[in-house]
Amino acid sequence: MSRPPVDYIERTRSQYQSLGYPPYQWVENKLAPPFVPLSRPLHESRVGLIASGGIYRVGQMAFHFKDDVSYREIDTDAPMSELRISHFAYDTADARRDPNVVFPLQTLRELAHVSRIRELASKAYTFMGGIYSARKVRSLLAPALADRMVRDEVDVVVLVPV
């Protein structure tokens, strides 16, 4: 039987309270989001991919767990067997077995192959989303990734948090 979604904000509040921590300040955007209609159909679109599941490629430095605001460029033709995961806040067992569950690279490559999308951009971008400082994300990481999307001339971006 289907049950209501887990309320992670409420559960975090209870967990923090039981640990004696002050409440976590979740990002709350009350203004209408910036909504831009698609500029062209998806089968004519170049698609970007950004994922926060702590994915890195062999040869790259892994993420650390203390507000790591660095990111990794990963070639979108990279073999899935060279992808690794480091993240402290979710069970990474399945992602390590099959990185597509948090970084759907092969899935999108195959959809490009059958022309559901025109193509993937040549680079995807990853970071470790357990960053407690919303200020650092807003002032450093988000603008840097937005800039990469502009430079990569993507039409749409698929964002995959965990």
């Binding site: 887990v6 790259q60 460029e73 069970d91 597509n100 569950v101 759907p104 965990v162």
Partner: protein
């Protein structure tokens, strides 16, 4: 894409597709390529068809028949325990997340050796990298 509905509502992105799976499976189940593909096709369809800013499309996938995984998320203590028992249980396991340090957390020692010799191509540090 999201598997955390309350957080996505709070962040309020222009569009979202919600998959009601445990965290760490936003794009599907490990090894199940047909499911991963269906979820992505539905996600792209949401991207294509959402007209109302902030709309969250609920995709109709269910992790398991009974959804019992939802009882265990961030709740090491059994919900049926009495207050005293649940307090004791949370003392035994107060926080199951890993320690936060600035040491890179490699999946394996071999990855660390590979990174040392490769010089971290494609790594972009917006602050000073760890020493």
């Amino acid at each position: 894409m999201t598997s955390a509905l309350s957080i996505t509502r709070s962040v309020n992105p222009p569009r979202a597709a919600f998959v009601d799976f445990p965290l760490g499976h936003t794009a599907g189940k490990a090894g199940d390529k047909p499911l991963q593909r269906k979820i992505m096709i539905d996600t792209l369809s949401a991207l294509d068809s959402i007209q109302v800013p902030g709309d969250i499309r609920h995709l109709s996938y269910q992790w398991s028949d009974d959804d019992s995984w939802k009882d265990r998320v961030m709740r090491p203590a059994k919900t049926t325990a009495t207050t005293t028992e649940s307090t004791a249980a949370s003392k035994q396991n107060p926080d199951d997340r890993l320690e936060r340090t600035t040491e890179p957390q490699y999946q394996s020692p071999a990855d660390q050796r590979a990174a040392m010799s490769a010089g971290c191509p494609g790594c972009v540090f917006l602050e000073s990298p760890p020493a």
